[in-house]
């Protein structure tokens, strides 16, 4: 979009930094100076959305669309405002439909459209929308979670649970948990050269962890082997090996290493994690998975995903009430944990608490869409080249 005013460019910069109040002021200054373009209102709408002021966001997005019916970022803001506000599913369906036509590769539009259909009790249309989202992006976890919920409503938990697991495996937060248990949450992703690692146990194990984080399984294996050659009963090394095997889909090797590690050190969190994940993948070992995750939750209670994994194992055992408790713990530790929110919604559905289930799904959408920062993608495209067609 040629000729954006300096004021609005400043507003954009402030908005990207998260300075909502200052960005709003700058937008109003731009409006006062006569810059009434759709992009200004769209930007204001997005700022109002940041503050969860939905009625204001709706008003601004509507103004943007009136100024330019092809303003895709305004549609996005409008749809999200409707969804987050709740109770406006009919309008929401129209907006997401429109956006899905204007930006057909926008996966979130299809996911949100599905959720709006589901809230308005159009379940078949909802499922269709989610399947379309997965065609565009097979790794779209929230579409799979929604399909899991839909499956639960139609067929029960036994058929829904595999979908939850499938979505969970797509969820990057599970790997993040392993590295959090390893104490490497904030560690950068770097290339590790095993030849340059100090020949001490701590250095090798640390480097192996970093190599795993960088997905360099060969370097990790080399370093772990070096540790085990000196001390075969090193439980941490065995646990790292188990994780590396897990990443290679070698479940039995992973189980062997994890079992050995746990036999040496029963409360080693990373070993419990690997063993639990292996067990959880086998239907017959649901009781075993639950036992392991209970132990892990005792050892590492501050991690939300630990409670999610426990909850999923409890769902498999039909212990829905306990699963609900575990999910609630996870949500309290991390309100943005989409997997926990959907799981909690599932347990609420088993208790007939439909309104609360809907709420959890809406909160999951809230956090997921916040994380995606889609508005800036559409805004930048819109301001750079005009409308998407």
């Amino acid at each position: 979009m040629a000729g954006r005013s300096k004021t609005i460019i400043a507003a954009e910069a402030l908005a990207r930094q998260g300075q909502v109040g200052a960005a709003v002021h700058a937008c109003y200054d731009a409006l006062a100076l006569g810059d009434q373009g759709a992009h200004v209102h769209a930007l204001l709408a997005s700022m109002m959305l940041e503050g969860d002021f939905y009625d204001e966001a709706i008003a601004e997005a509507t103004s943007a669309i009136e100024a330019d019916p092809d303003c895709s970022p305004a549609y996005l803001a409008l749809g999200m405002a409707y969804d987050r506000r709740g109770g406006m599913w009919d309008q929401s369906v129209l907006v997401w439909h429109e956006l899905a036509e204007v930006v057909p590769d926008l996966v979130t539009a299809h996911v949100q459209l599905g959720e709006a259909f589901a809230a308005a009790a159009y379940s078949e249309e909802a499922v269709e929308s989610w399947r379309r989202a997965l065609e565009l992006d097979p790794r779209e976890a929230r579409a799979t979670y929604n399909l899991a919920i839909a499956s639960l409503k139609r067929e029960g938990m036994a058929l829904a649970l595999p979908l939850f697991r499938q979505a969970g495996e797509l969820d990057p937060s599970q790997d993040e948990l392993f590295f959090a248990l390893l104490g490497l949450t904030d560690a950068p992703i770097i290339t590790v050269d095993p030849a340059r690692v100090k020949p001490t146990r701590e250095a090798r194990l640390g480097a192996a962890g970093l190599a795993l984080k960088a997905d360099d399984l060969f370097s990790a294996a080399e370093l772990v082997r070096a540790v085990l050659d000196e001390q075969p009963d090193d439980s941490e090394a065995l646990a790292l090996a188990a994780y590396a095997y897990l990443k290679q889909e070698a479940a039995n090797e992973a189980m062997a290493c994890a079992l050995r590690a746990v036999s040496l050190k029963p409360d080693l969190a990373i070993a419990l994690y690997c063993l639990g994940v292996v067990y959880a993948r086998r239907t017959g070992l649901k009781r075993h998975a639950a036992r392991v995750f209970i132990a892990l939750a005792k050892k590492a209670p501050a991690h939300a995903l630990v409670h999610v994994l426990l909850a999923e194992s409890l769902l498999a055992l039909q212990r829905y009430e306990q699963a609900g408790k575990a999910y609630r713990t996870a949500v309290r530790l991390d309100p943005a944990c989409v997997r926990a929110r959907f799981g909690l919604a599932a347990t609420y559905l088993t208790e007939g608490r439909h309104a609360e289930a809907s709420w959890e799904i809406r909160r999951a959408a809230y956090y997921d869409t916040k994380r995606q920062r889609l508005f800036w993608r559409l805004y930048d495209e819109y301001t750079a080249g005009g409308e998407e067609s």
């Binding site: 503050g51 009625d55 204001e56 309100p335 309104a355 809907s358 909160r363």
Partner: protein, 638 residues
Amino acid sequence: MTKPVDPKVTGPIRNALFPVGVDLYPLDDEHASFDDWYARDLTPDLTAMAAANFSLVRVFVSWKLFEPQVGQYNDDAEDRLGEVLAAIRGYDLKAIVTFFADDRFAEMNDVTWARKRDPRTDDYLIQREVSLIQRVVNRYRTDPAIWAWELGNEAFFTGFESEESLQKWTGALREAVREVDTARAIMLGVDTETLVRETGVDATEAIDGFEYAVSHVTAPYLSYIAEGPLTYGPATYLDSFLLRCGLRTLPVIADGIGVHSLEGSVAEEAAYVRTVLFSALMNRGSGVMLRRWRDMDAEKREPYFRDPYEVLVGLTDTGGESKPVLDEVRRFTRVAAHIDLRHHLPVPERAAVLIPAERHEPLPSLAGLYTPRSCLQSYIAAKEAHLPVTLVREGAPLDDTMVLFIPSVGKLTPSMWIRLAAFVQSGGSVVLSYGGGDTDPAIREIFGVEFLGDHGVRPVVSCRVAQPGLLGDLVAFDARFELPHYALVGGGSATVVATDATGSPLLTLNQYGQGRAVFIAAPLERAIAQSDPWAAPEPIRHFLRTVYGAVACAVGAGPVIDCDDPAVEIALFQAEDSDVVLVISHDMAPRTATLAADRVVASVTDVRGGPAAKVGAKSFGVPLGPNGAAAIRLAYGG
């Protein structure tokens, strides 16, 4: 016809100082025409209302029906109103007669001859409104069935665009009523807080000219401030919060009680209404009005659409069959009837949450959007600390207040800072949490801290207790929780009570004159409101309510009856011979709340009667079901 007397019910069945009423809409079927206004037989409904011990029924006058042509009045319509009032009187009920309400169905204000003029501002139409009012009021001014006249409802008032036009309209119509009826109460059916949120128009001055105020959770307001489950969390406190907002000089009726969405089950609806009814009684309400008597027989709408000012859900279904929520109302009226509010008075509220004047700032200032949410969270924290708490606007007198909570405020007016200094110096206590931006120089003087700047966004809240026990039982914690601001403070005379993980003060306490000033370096209340109020980390909630509670207790503004459960709200009504304590749970999980008095409680009895349970101690347990409520009479003695 008079209402049947149930021989089984003994004792009082209504409370004259706390009437319970319901809105009886003129149409119950979306397909009905505007002239089907109260056309059906109301006998079954009124019978059921009387059996449920209602006191009040709100009825709506249809201007369109009453004055089909200019100056020509419909006698049939007037007779029909008379029949309705006679029927109401026959059942020993009383009526609130509302003029100029918009219910979205009965077209009551859509007089065809008005030619699209605005009935709120058009002088000619206002004259016609005056005539209508005077005609109706004159005819029924001696009718004992009339409890109050009411002008408009929330949907109607959202059409006003300025305070001037609102005051002009309300003044004219009030005068019109008073010319004919000098005695009966007149009300405006609008909540100031929800109206200012919706339209920016402040109805405070207009309402102060009437005899009753109302508080009214509207669907848009609920969506703005407490969108989430209705059976636990912030939504369960919202009705009493608005009631407290409306409490100034007039008694406040908690109006429009009922669910707004159709997502919940009848069980959730009943639980929510139970919470709201008890909250109203516990928070100085002067009565309650339920939203609708009978479900609206609405068309199936595809896709599902609902106007925020439509009222579709009633206490009975479309066939008149009662729902569990009506049983809740019935139970509640019996409880309320057994509390003599002439003698049992609520414990005075010495703690107050300040609503800063910046609440009224229009966009682009976001203060008007952040502030009500922060105030609600502050109110909830005070409730969790079991403090008798109210709300006070910036600029209002603080004579009755001993503790002031100022949550996450951006700025106060210069005059407020002066008053705050005087307040604390003369013995008051204040808890202020930083709201971002620059601070007023008065911070240094009153709170004893030197403001060094805003650290900005923090993803984690850490607390390390430097002085255990100084401000309650604080515990160290680290919670993953985004804070938009964090004040860096240093130097000064204040005692550092708690810090973050790196030693930067989080909580300070300063003795200033005879009072104490507590500073919290982060806008915790706003952060809770802006993040996920239903999933706020428990350590942070514990921190807030512990600080609030400790500060209040230190100046004698703490709870008279304490409780070990923050999800349980308590209200104590004191009399010479015995006290009554009302207890409600703001949560779905069953629990037993342990109440602790400062004297030995000899026995406790349900206010509705029954055998006394011996206690003989200062504390006793009250079992509560999901969103449970209890009303207990305490007898003291050793």
